[in-house]
Symmetry: C2
Subunit: 226 residues, 2 copies
């Protein structure tokens, strides 16, 4: 998988960048260091000025790649979702039982990312923490409709659609496949955050990842026709 990942490039809408950061050393270091810096100081405190110091470049140069820091964040988030979809395909190839496919999908969506494929210049562990804390900021704003019509949410929609299709394979009459899947994706992020910072909103059980267990059970029961 790692060897494949370095050869394919995850497709992200051209509307999120002015110049493809994959296309140059500088662009790649913008991506790599922005992940480190956002993870460290949080998106609110993150500025292009600070990033330019980290990468020993200038604000103006970063602005040649991204219009503003929200677009850069969008790039990172959608890179992540494209990466998740890519891993999903890997985990379900050659599996025929749709129940098993769905189980693997839900685990992928709700488990903690611990794997950092050293073959990309992005630290996936840090990026997954950024996704948990910052991802909603790319759509919870007044630009969402324009961004959506620019197609930037495609990787997210594609992932949701793909898993919804598995749900419908199991139960073609289930009425809310997309809501179920987007509830799991967003919910898993929230529960991860809550378990760390607001544990009273969650339920911890020794010796198990209760976020994974919770969503596995929730999805299973929800799609039963009973």
């Amino acid at each position: 998988m790692n060897t494949l990942l370095q050869n394919i490039s995850l497709s992200i809408s051209e509307k999120v960048y002015l110049k493809n950061p994959e296309s140059s050393k500088l662009g790649q270091s913008i991506i790599m260091e922005s992940v480190n810096l956002i993870d460290e100081i949080g998106f609110e405190n993150f500025t292009f000025k600070k990033l330019s110091i980290e990468i020993k470049s200038t604000e103006a140069s970063i602005y040649r790649y991204f219009e503003n820091k929200y677009k850069l964040l969008a790039y990172l988030i959608f890179w992540y979702y494209a990466w998740i979809e890519y891993r999903l395909l890997f985990r379900i190839t050659n599996i025929d039982d749709p129940n098993e496919k769905l189980k693997r999908a839900v685990i992928l969506l709700s488990e903690e990312v611990e794997e950092d494929s050293t073959h990309t210049h992005i630290n996936e562990i840090k990026l997954s923490r950024i996704v948990i804390t910052e991802s909603s900021k790319i759509y919870l704003n007044k630009n969402v409709d324009k961004d959506n019509s620019d197609g930037i949410f495609k990787p997210y929609k594609d992932l949701t659609q793909r898993i919804s299709d598995i749900v419908l394979e199991i139960n073609p009459t289930y009425k809310y496949p997309h809501m179920l899947v987007s509830t799991v994706i967003e919910g898993a992020h929230h529960q991860r955050f809550f378990s760390k910072h607001l544990p009273r909103l969650t339920d911890t059980i020794d010796g198990e990842d209760s976020i994974v267990s919770f969503y596995l059970e929730l999805v299973n029961k929800s799609i039963q026709p009973c």
Copy 2:
């Protein structure tokens, strides 16, 4: 209920304000107009400068009530959750069947707010839109642990706890009551937002509020011991 609401004051941690906005005309107009302004232009574009113009006062005066705009937002969000808990108590008094109580709670959490009690100086319809779009911004940041230790999240935790208790009345062995309830609260907000801006992530069904139906079914099935 409205007559009661004007007499009780919803309890919000004193840590979110410097001076209680309920205690003066100026404070009340800060609250009232901030709801109008945030709903209109979004929290990112909202500034104390703009608010001061709306209320025909000054930035400095607003700063005497709230440390910064995040604290003001926190005040609004927790006012909302305290209001929701208050309405919950009203809707479930004299109901004995825990299944009916839970049903009413889930409806309250997932339905659209259409009721504006003219007896408060807060427009609840606008506030509910603010909660949908902006509420996560009060905890998805680097201050969350300090804010939490200041107790500002209490109204949210109280509401979650109260509904979790109903879940446990129905099924005392259910392992994830808090996660289920917080998933419904946050999820309902997200689904409301998606249905308006990213409908591909949801499922719309003619003639019904599919967000309410989805969460009613999800909760019901999840807590079945089967």
